[in-house]
């Protein structure tokens, strides 16, 4: 170890890998992963969120996790975004392709993607 910069480089490389354990309450992305959700394709959605949150360097402030059946099976895969002091946003019929916009516009930009939310869903 010849310099502080070297140490800093290791720290930055590792940071995303351990922040997962510290837990953050700022924003939580919860993917419904009951049997219905998995059958409808929730796993690629979950993995896409994990990948893109990390790739964008948002892992320190955003927790991506999963939950059981949310109860609206016809809308699966369902993703809920919780943020302290704000109303919960529920995205329905998610796909891995839709994730990029949610990460970019909502998680990064702070503006929910209205057309994916449950309010605009057609059964």
């Amino acid at each position: 170890m010849k310099s502080l910069a070297e140490l800093q480089a290791i720290k930055e490389k590792m940071q995303g890998k351990v922040t997962l354990r510290e837990g953050t309450d700022e924003k939580r992305v919860v993917v419904g992963m009951a049997t219905c959700g998995i059958a409808a394709g929730a796993r690629p959605v979950l993995n896409a969120f994990v990948e893109q949150v990390n790739a964008q360097g948002l892992a320190a402030n955003i927790t991506v996790t999963q939950t059981g059946c949310i109860g609206i099976c016809q809308y699966e895969p369902v993703v809920e975004v919780f943020e302290a002091g704000k109303e919960k946003v529920t995205y329905v019929k998610m796909t891995a392709d839709k994730v990029a916009r949610v990460v970019e516009e909502h998680l990064k930009g702070g503006k929910p993607v209205a057309e994916y939310t449950i309010g605009n869903a057609k059964v």
Partner: protein, 605 residues
């Protein structure tokens, strides 16, 4: 991409309750479910709640699973990791509230953790101790970098002095002053020594730090080396800690590979290297001069002080010797500042203290609390109270060198000076809780037996004195003592304290003195009434069958290994069969009969 971490405790406690098998089961099950690219398994150090081991934590939710068995693993994987449904029956949900809690309970929500303040243990149970990169991610080696590139040795010592850090091994000597006394001494070689010879029965603070966060010690010792001008360090750790030794060795090797030990660290021109020395487990080797004698390859015996190690220590050179927990505070103090550290604790005792909770307590384990927390909070809130509804009687701090805190002093804020004021001592952090069924004379005898065994024999007051003390205690607990014996016992205690060569002898009588101070009536009961109030000392007990309650079923007679119970001629009114009686000459006082009697006719007197 990894989306969840499964943390499995690999401390000594959980390892012995089978955490290795659980780790293997997780690996198999995660593979079987095709999740190996999404879930990472991490073996960590001690989480602290050893009574509930093996412990498994799932992040990012922080779900805290306790007493996990290999058969439970498949369910956790398919339910929690795959479908996101917490396996509720395995979640430890004691949050201290009366209402039962359902669903996900994170470790930080439990009553055991809520009031703790983890500085020394901050990485224990959080990082993989065998992965140097994880330590670096948690600001590891940043303090060393700061010290070597921005600070002079004097500035480092000043920060440690200002923080108010005192030796955590038990003595409580100010760490900054110790360093300041060593730094100016000129010598061809100086040493930094870490005392990891944790010998108190029931204490495992240092072991947990070594197992859970070994790099922290490597970093702190290097900082100490820079501060006092030493280029070599030794960690003296007992061979009975195989996991700790192995992880420390991995940490040292990794640090060398990264250039964090060795020549020209951080390009500063400062060299430092570390070596491990294994001790054979002699208690006296925890005494600083005996420890250094042992490192030198000689029989572990203390030597007179002065000269102090600061002047003439290891190999006759100036040496700083600190305990593991003391060192573990150092990197945090450097990074967060002396004011931050001094803001925790009491006026003269700053920071936090780690305690190993044991004995008659629900949550056996490792806790870290700010100095000045009351014993009541430690026992009732964090420890979960005394099991089986028994009453708290006393707590022993400092193991065989310490004393007891009785129930009426339970609100004493725990710090160095308060404990000394009540005739106790902080010690290294063993905290043994005793309930109403503990005989205090017997307890003092237990610790005396330990010190008699462990006395190295170099000085007479300790070698002969502790043996005589033990004989007197034997006499008292066997019912042959007199009131004069109690006075003699007390006098001999003071004599040993004043005349012994080292800390072992000087503190060996403490358990006797403090029980005499707070529980003299129990000693008197043993010699005058020939009774043991707690019902522990066998020679003073008699088991008796109440002939009016006995229905004559004979269950007790069947259970008696000594055939001491036989039928009498007496038939109690309302009963059909003749009652039984115990022959006191044959009775071996094992107590086996008591449990067999459904009519509670047998009692200890």
């Amino acid at each position: 991409m990894i989306r969840a971490h499964v943390l499995i405790c690999g401390g000594t406690g959980c390892t012995s309750s089978g955490s290795n098998a659980i780790q293997q089961a997780f690996a198999d099950s995660i593979k079987a479910n095709g999740l190996e690219d999404e879930i990472k398994i991490v073996q960590t150090g001690c989480f602290g709640l050893c009574a509930l081991g093996p412990v498994v934590i799932v992040h990012p939710d922080g779900t805290f699973y306790s007493r996990v068995e290999a058969d439970d693993v498949a369910e956790i994987v398919t339910e929690h990791l795959l479908k996101g449904r917490v396996v509720e029956r395995l979640v430890y949900n004691d949050t201290g509230s009366d209402e039962p809690v359902h669903g996900n309970v994170a470790l930080s929500d439990t009553a055991f953790y809520k009031t703790q303040n983890r500085v020394v243990l901050r990485n224990c149970g959080v990082i993989d101790p065998e992965d140097i990169d994880e330590y670096i991610a948690m600001d590891g080696y940043a303090a060393l970098g700061k010290v070597l590139t921005e600070m002079t040795p004097d500035e480092v010592i000043q920060v440690i002095t200002d923080s108010g850090l005192r030796g955590r091994g038990g003595g409580g000597f100010p760490t900054g002053r110790k360093w300041a006394l060593t730094a100016p001494n000129k010598a061809p070689q100086k040493y930094v020594v870490c005392n990891a010879d944790e010998g108190d029965p029931g204490a495992f603070m240092d072991r947990s730090v070594l197992e859970g966060d070994p790099h922290c010690l490597v970093e702190a010792m290097t900082i100490a080396g820079y501060a006092i001008g030493a280029t070599e360090g030794y960690v003296y750790v007992r061979a009975e800690y195989p996991i700790a030794v192995a992880r420390l060795q991995i940490a040292i090797d990794k640090a060398r590979e990264y250039g964090l030990l060795g020549k020209n660290i951080f390009g500063s021109g400062f060299d430092f290297d570390l070596h491990i020395r294994l001790g054979a487990g002699a208690f006296v080797c925890g005494e600083e001069t005996a420890l250094m004698t042992s490192i030198e390859g000689n029989r572990g015996e203390p030597r007179p002080r002065p000269p102090y190690p600061a002047v003439k220590g290891l190999y006759g050179m100036p040496t700083v010797e600190n305990n593991v927990e003391t060192f573990a505070n150092v990197p945090q103090i450097i990074l967060r500042g002396a004011e931050w550290f001094a803001s925790m604790g009491t006026e003269k005792s700053k920071g936090t203290k780690v305690f190993a909770l044991g004995g008659k307590i629900k949550n056996t384990g490792l806790v870290e609390i700010p100095m000045g927390t009351t014993l009541r909070e430690i026992i009732d809130d964090i420890g979960g109270g005394i099991p089986n509804g028994k009453k708290f009687k006393a707590a022993q701090t400092g193991g065989p060198s310490g004393g007891c805190i009785p129930a009426d002093l339970i609100d004493t804020p725990v710090d160095y000076d308060n404990l000394i004021a009540i005739g106790c001592m902080m010690g290294s952090g063993g905290l043994i809780v005793m309930d109403e069924d503990t005989c205090m004379v017997d307890m003092a005898k237990f610790f005396l037996e330990f010190t008699v065994d462990e006395s190295c024999g170099k000085c007479t007051p300790c070698r002969v004195g502790t043996k005589r003390l033990l004989e007197m205690l034997d006499k008292i607990t066997s019912g042959k003592g007199t009131l004069e014996d109690i006075d003699e016992l007390e006098q001999l205690c003071y004599y040993i304290k004043q005349n012994s060569l080292c800390g072992l002898g000087q503190t060996a009588p403490n358990p006797v003195l403090s029980t005499l101070k707070f529980f003299r009536d129990e000693y008197v009961a043993h010699v005058v009434d020939k009774k043991c109030p707690a019902g522990v000392c066998k020679d003073l007990l008699t088991y008796v069958i109440d002939k009016e309650k006995c229905i004559g079923c004979g269950m007790c007679a069947k259970a008696c290994p000594a055939s001491a119970i036989t039928r009498t001629d007496y038939i109690a009114p309302n009963h059909k069969l003749a009652s039984f009686a115990i022959d006191p000459d044959k009775c071996v006082k094992c107590g086996a009969c008591v449990g067999t009697c459904k009519f509670k006719a047998i009692s200890k007197q």
